[in-house]
């Protein structure tokens, strides 16, 4: 036993938690695994976590969590720098994996949106932001932990898997799967605009369980049938415009990709 302990001490993986533009909520949910936090952090060497540490290294990460979306030049520079130093990069949260709220600008008039905030300021002196995109648009991402905020139990699980050298698994069933296991009365049948059938689960169907419609914070299913999903929602009498606004709340880019796919096939 003693030997293995010594061996593990020598080989403590170097873990970093970095963030770019976002709400810092994903990082917090990582620190909020209260009961096992100290135990878990004892098994790793936390080399970078600017939010709670004063001393941060920027080299040789074994595992690196990155939260937030790329929304400025500096974000991009940092991300590229970190990618070179990281062996296993995990996109933490909805911003990093799908773009989240700030990426909604892709489907709106960008100048109008920006004017609503900085209208009094001359345009040439304004800080010019990049419209937010998730990490995988710029760098290779090894694993995603989606969700807004991500499930802290999932973070714990993934970290434990990685520490044991097991490749983490992706949850790829619809929200409806877990929702029906909880024996909930379907919200769609009650006339509430729920997006459960199209969206990725793994969240224990929290929202539908509390009578709140799913809005898809964990991203769309890879094989989501958007066409028939839309038809179902239309048949229920929901406003199609509103439905698109709902679907694009977290996953604007994913939605745009889905929309552009069939057109390519026609060509």
């Amino acid at each position: 036993m003693k030997k293995t302990k010594k061996a593990s001490k020598a080989k403590k993986p170097r873990v970093g938690i970095q963030s770019i533009t976002g709400c810092a909520g994903c990082q917090l949910s990582l620190y909020f695994i209260e009961d096992v936090l100290l135990e878990l952090f004892d098994k790793i060497e936390l080399v970078a976590a600017p939010m709670i540490k004063g001393k941060n290294e920027e080299e040789n990460y074994d595992i690196l969590f990155v939260e937030g979306s790329v929304s400025s030049k500096e974000d991009l520079e940092n991300l590229l720098k970190w990618r070179k130093q990281a062996k296993f990069l995990i996109a933490l949260g909805a911003c990093a994996s799908h773009g989240c709220m700030q990426s909604m600008k892709h489907m709106m008039h960008e100048e109008e949106v920006e004017a609503a905030v900085y209208n009094k300021f001359p345009s040439d002196k304004r800080l010019k932001p990049i419209t937010a995109v998730p990490l995988h648009k710029h760098v290779q991402v090894d694993f995603y932990i989606p969700g807004c905020p991500p499930d802290k139990e999932e973070i714990e699980r993934v970290l434990k898997w990685l520490l044991q050298g097991i490749k983490p698994r992706v949850y790829d069933k619809a929200v409806c799967h877990e929702c029906s296991l909880k024996e909930n009365y379907c919200l769609l049948d009650q006339g509430i605009e729920c997006l459960g059938p199209l969206m990725n689960g793994g969240c224990k169907a929290l929202c539908p369980d509390y009578n709140h419609p799913c809005t898809g914070c964990r991203g769309m299913l890879d094989d989501a049938n958007l066409k028939s999903g839309k038809e179902i929602l239309r048949d229920k009498g929901f406003d199609p415009d509103l439905m698109i606004k709902r679907m694009t709340k977290y996953n604007t880019l994913q939605f745009m990709e889905f929309e552009s796919k069939p057109k390519e096939e026609k060509k």
Binding site: N56, F121, C207
Partner: protein, 470 residues
């Protein structure tokens, strides 16, 4: 070349090398200390310090010094702008809360409540006593978590001379475990009432989609009772800490808790005895956009002001719970307090107050009132809410379909930015007069900024200090 090299090895340079090693120990990056190649600058190097950590978000501080005089001091947020006020435009009323809550992870409940109340005001929706209670409980849960995180993880390591709370574990395990327990309590409250630990969703316009059952209420009450001694020992811990001597007079703004819930409704009052209705906030608070920052800066009636725990206690000391008052008396302070470092202590005292208030609020028979239904109406609504860091304004104008036409959000940190900037300037000037070393000044500045508990996510991420010495 040789001559210049010899010149470099003066006494000053030895000091410089000493500072390099000091900086290394403190975790500052060596490459941030760039020694300029120009001969003239050899004696006075320009210094770029690129990381100040343990604050929520990315910020920047630009300091220019000539001799022993401070020329420029600009505080800004360099976080990529996300344009929430623009994104909300064109969205239906029931989508707004979900979007605005994402402005900030640590104060998502405050954004949620402010957003919902402003929209309710706009559409003339009235909510039940139970809903108001649950919303306040949501805010209290968030507050306990936020204060505990700030006090133990961001502020305390400075006072005890550690680089992080995790490094404190070997010697101060009890304190770290206490922090984790308080955080867990706050998380539990938010999760059981709001559905998620962050970005709660059960609170919607008109009411709640889910109400905690009796078992949950009992559990939460028991947890709060257990946490009270821990909150008290937190306050006692911060009472023991020595606060630096520093005074900066300014105005303080907080919600007036005379009406039922001090957290989520009421008029605004200031130390200079202004009385402001939330809907008239724009007459008193001026917002400005600065070229060096993605956040907006604010002034109150043309005066410098600050919000947060210190402001709340400076204006509303009488409303504190008896236990909290007793703790305050132990500090032997005179009101009003003008030392921003005391914001930490005030947060610790408030923690006791909120734990007690939460326990009292849970004493209620919560019943599910059915899913709320809302009729859209044209109008404008404003709401002011006490977020953990100060007052948060949400202001919406919606059309008859319930679609948002105009939106304005003023976050607490945006209101504090100017006060922080001014205090930093004062502090640097003071320390330059005392001829303190650079790394010491930087440390103190960091400590001061952290005391304000800035949340740059609301406006921006971690703090970069650009230090130019001319």
């Amino acid at each position: 070349m040789r001559v210049s090299l010899r010149k470099r090895k003066s006494k000053n340079d030895k000091n410089k090398i000493f500072e390099f090693t000091k900086a290394k120990l403190l975790g500052l990056k060596i490459k941030d200390f760039v020694v300029s190649n120009k001969k003239q600058d050899l004696k006075m190097p320009s210094i770029n310090l690129n990381h100040i950590c343990k604050v929520e978000g990315h910020g920047s501080l630009h300091v220019e010094i000539k001799g022993s005089k401070l020329i420029k001091c600009k505080l800004g947020t360099v976080e990529g702008a996300r344009f929430f006020e623009g994104i909300v435009k064109g969205k239906r009323h029931d989508d707004v809360q979900e979007i605005t809550s994402r402005i900030c992870g640590i104060c998502s409940c405050a954004h949620t409540v402010a957003s919902l109340q402003a929209l309710e005001n706009a559409m003339g929706v009235k909510v039940s006593e139970q809903t108001r209670r649950l919303r306040e409980l949501l805010s209290i849960g968030e507050r306990i978590r936020s204060h505990a995180t700030h006090l133990y993880f961001l502020a305390l390591p400075d006072y005890l001379g550690y680089e992080s709370a995790l490094a404190m574990v070997s010697k101060y395990k009890k304190e770290v475990l206490r922090a984790l327990h308080l955080i867990k309590l706050g998380n539990n409250m938010v999760q059981r009432i709001g559905g998620k630990e962050m970005h709660p969703f059960t609170s919607v316009i008109g009411g709640f989609t889910h109400v905690p059952d009796k078992k949950t209420v009992k559990y939460l009450q028991a947890e709060l009772k257990k946490a009270l001694p821990e909150a008290i020992s937190t306050a006692k811990l911060f009472l023991k800490l020595k606060q630096p001597k520093f005074e900066a007079e300014k105005d303080y703004l907080a919600l007036n808790p005379e009406k039922d819930s001090p957290l989520i409704s009421g008029d605004l009052i200031s130390l200079s005895s202004l009385n402001i209705k939330p809907a008239e906030y724009d007459k008193f608070i001026d917002e400005e956009v600065m070229p060096y920052s993605t956040a907006k800066f604010s002034k109150l009636n043309g005066k410098l002001f600050c919000v947060g725990s210190l402001a709340r206690i400076n204006t509303n000391y009488d409303k504190l719970s008896p236990t909290a008052k007793q703790l305050f008396k132990q500090a032997k302070l005179e009101l009003p307090i003008h030392n921003p470092y005391y914001n930490n202590l005030m947060q610790a005292i408030e923690l006791v107050h909120w734990v007690e208030r939460g326990y009292a609020l849970l004493d209620y028979d919560f019943r599910f009132e059915g899913l709320p239904k809302v009729k859209a109406r044209r109008g404008r609504g404003v709401s002011a809410v006490e977020a953990p860091r100060g007052i948060l304004f949400h202001d919406y104008t919606i059309n008859e379909k319930g679609v948002v036409e105009k939106c304005n959000i003023i976050t607490p940190t945006a209101q504090n930015l100017r006060a922080i900037e001014d205090d930093v300037r004062l502090l640097i000037e003071q320390m330059l007069k005392q001829k303190k070393k650079k790394y010491k000044i930087i440390l103190e500045v960091e400590k001061l900024i952290r005391a304000y508990d800035p949340c740059f996510s609301c406006s921006a991420h971690f703090l970069k200090v650009k230090w130019v010495k001319k």
